[in-house]
Amino acid sequence: MKKELTRQQYLDLYYYMRLNRAVEEMMVKLFRQNKIVGGLYSSLGQEAISVGTAYALEKKDWLAPMIRNIGALLVKGVRPRDVFMQHMAKYDSPTKGKDGTSHFGDLDNLHIVSPISMLGDLIPVMTGVAMAGRYLGQRIVAMTWIGDGGSSTGVFHEGLNFAAVQKAPFVLILENNLWAYSTPVRKQVPLENLADRAKAYGIESYIVDGNNVLAMYSTAKEAVEQARAGEGPILIEAKTFRRMGHAQHDPAEYVPKEMRAYWEARDPIALYEKFLTGENLLDAKGRKEIEEKINTLLAKERDFAENSPLPPPEFAETGVYCTGDDCHKIRAKWERPIAEVTPPRSSVEAVWTVPGFGSGKGSGGAHAPIHFGDTQPAETKPAEAGKSAVQAPAKAAAKKTVKAVPASASRKARR
């Protein structure tokens, strides 16, 4: 992030934020015309997060969106028509009408995993994507998003803990927009900074102004490269606000007016425009051009979407199972010698080495790697779990939320 962005990059970020907003504005119109099937979610005011973070990914990297990450899909290369058609349940949509909203993926080209509605479930799934990429030698990073509300799910915990144990190249963006449907964040999570969730897994975390696209981008970039370098998963908390209701049907009267006003004054696109203008990266003409480009594109994309048919009824019957090679040729893309992971090359001793205590299961002090035998060095920072027990009371004093055991009791412990 030290290096400044190119002019093109600065403008890309602007373009995608505008595109994100324009796509969603057009969908609101379609919704009012009753052309959207089911609910419609909005990321108004959160565009900097989707765009800034997804822009930090390389083409080979993987992402999985949540409901408010249309912007990330657009950055990754999804066409607006696909977004429209998903919401209109059209036959030419990525899921051919079988699912809606941002529920679609692309395994082969864009490397997008489809979400399901159940919050948090993408976290272990993207951990698996990250682990598989590493195993295949692809040096990819996997990214997904979660809400303040979603961070209360059990699968958030299981997934992030597993990613941390495995040091998976995985970046999780926690969009703290202060509300989960009608529930304010402090009824959801008793923390001021949700980044503190990371402390339960010993992983790195960042807190970023979610309405600042440059901050989002640069932080995500740093995190992505850290993860790629093998430093393990990273949690980024983006502080922001959900400007619309949970979905179109929700007037969100439970949100204090003053709160909404406060955040409306901090619109991420307006803030970024000010910056671009101040840095002479954008003037009225440039802005006009971008607007026209987007308008022209979206009119075409919407027309395409509107003209696409609904799926034929009998299509409902098809596709529950993959029928084999004729349906999908499943091939792992190896970017390392397969011989590295096939016998007898990878024979190891099945022992645990516990720092300070040698190793178990017979073979004595052998230094079997704990983490990944062949591709990763054994962990060098010893956890010293065993030893820490006796030193615990002293160490504990340094922690903020951990109280030291009363000295008398701990003295007794050590006699």
């Binding site: 059209k90 079988k98 809606g100 509605s117 159940m118 059990g154 989960a180 009608s182 959801q188 009824p313």
Partner: protein, 334 residues
């Protein structure tokens, strides 16, 4: 929307949804041990507004807006029930009940059998398709729980039953799963009696008398079956329509009585086919009314697929009156 106490003056037609709200209001007034818990059930009044006004009336202690943690809700409700409370837990959509599957099937369902601990609690929420909710907001998960001894499973079709059965569920000493078909919420109305009443758990009801065949159904499909019944009547086929109302325990008596009378049976459910309750009914009939069947047991159900999103697909996926009509006609020919 009725007065603040949640009950309508008698003679008024109320919606299915209103009936559920009334049941919760009245049970919470009757018994301070009854509390309500779920995502957005308090200030917002529930995603479908089923609990609108309940927080205002009963306060923050008895109406708990929870984090997005289905296992925590179910677990906590179970713990509360051990101290004599009778919690009602709302799943925002019943689809999310699978996020607490272990808690329900292992902790909640087995406690009374294993260590004599009753868990009087109700888990309720909007279920079913037909409103283009897509694959994760249209679930009919009843069979997962019908196959779990220790639970009771209710799936009503009318405002009267919804209110009376929800009240019975709250008063039951066992854990009860209560499914509310969201297609019915605002589409189906009915008159409710003025006073307190319950509908007994475990009793089916004959919604239409007939002699040529029996159509067994429940929830939204009861209405679809009745619609088919009218069409069949025009062709001289009198279908008896049984509404199961409770799926566990199943009312074998009403099922057997009807089939012994009509000698033919068609089961209709919105749940997917393989492993649906039609199978269980088939087995019961084969065991206990084998000689009474004059024709094959038939099934009209949803397809064995996830619930698709596009209206064209969902319509094809779901049973409807036409499909029931055809099947019944074929069956009547035997």
């Amino acid at each position: 929307m009725p007065g603040t106490n949640g009950s309508a003056p008698s003679g008024t037609q109320v919606t299915f949804l209103e009936a559920i709200k009334q049941a919760m209001f009245e049970e919470m007034e009757r018994d301070p041990a009854v509390i309500l818990m779920g995502e957005d059930v308090g200030v917002y009044g529930g995603a479908f507004k089923t609990s609108e006004g309940i927080l205002e009336r009963f306060g923050w202690e008895r109406v708990i807006d929870t984090p997005i943690s289905e296992s925590a809700m179910i677990g906590a409700a179970c713990g509360m029930s051990y101290l004599g409370l009778r919690p009602i837990v709302e799943m925002q959509f019943i689809d999310f009940i699978v996020c607490a599957f272990n808690q329900i099937t292992n902790f909640v369902a087995k406690g009374h059998y294993l260590w004599n601990a009753p868990a009087p609690m109700v888990v309720r929420g909007p279920s079913g398709g037909g409103v283009h909710g897509g694959p994760f907001h249209s679930a009919n998960p009843e069979m997962y729980f019908v196959h779990t001894p220790g639970l009771k499973v209710i799936y009503p079709s009318t405002p009267y039953d919804a209110k009376g059965l929800l009240k019975a569920a709250v008063r039951d000493n066992n854990p009860v799963l209560f499914f509310e078909h969201k297609f019915l919420y605002r589409r189906i109305k009915g008159e409710l009696p003025a006073g307190d009443y319950t509908v007994p758990i475990g009793k089916a009801v004959v919604r239409r008398q007939g002699k040529h065949l029996t159509i067994i159904s429940y929830a939204a499909m009861t209405h679809t079956s009745l619609e088919a019944g009218e069409a069949l009547a025009k062709e001289g086929i009198e279908a008896e329509v049984v509404d199961l109302r409770t799926l566990l325990p199943l009312d074998e008596e009403t099922i057997l009585n009807s089939v012994k009378k009509t000698n033919k049976c068609l089961v209709v459910h919105e749940d997917t086919k393989t492993g649906g309750i039609a199978g269980e009914i088939a087995a019961i009939l084969c065991e206990k009314a084998f000689g009474d069947l004059d024709g094959p047991l038939m099934r009209v159900t949803s397809l064995d697929t996830p619930v698709p999103y596009a209206p064209t697909l969902e319509e094809y996926f779901l049973p409807n009156a036409k499909k029931i009509f055809s099947a019944a006609k074929e069956l009547a020919r035997y």
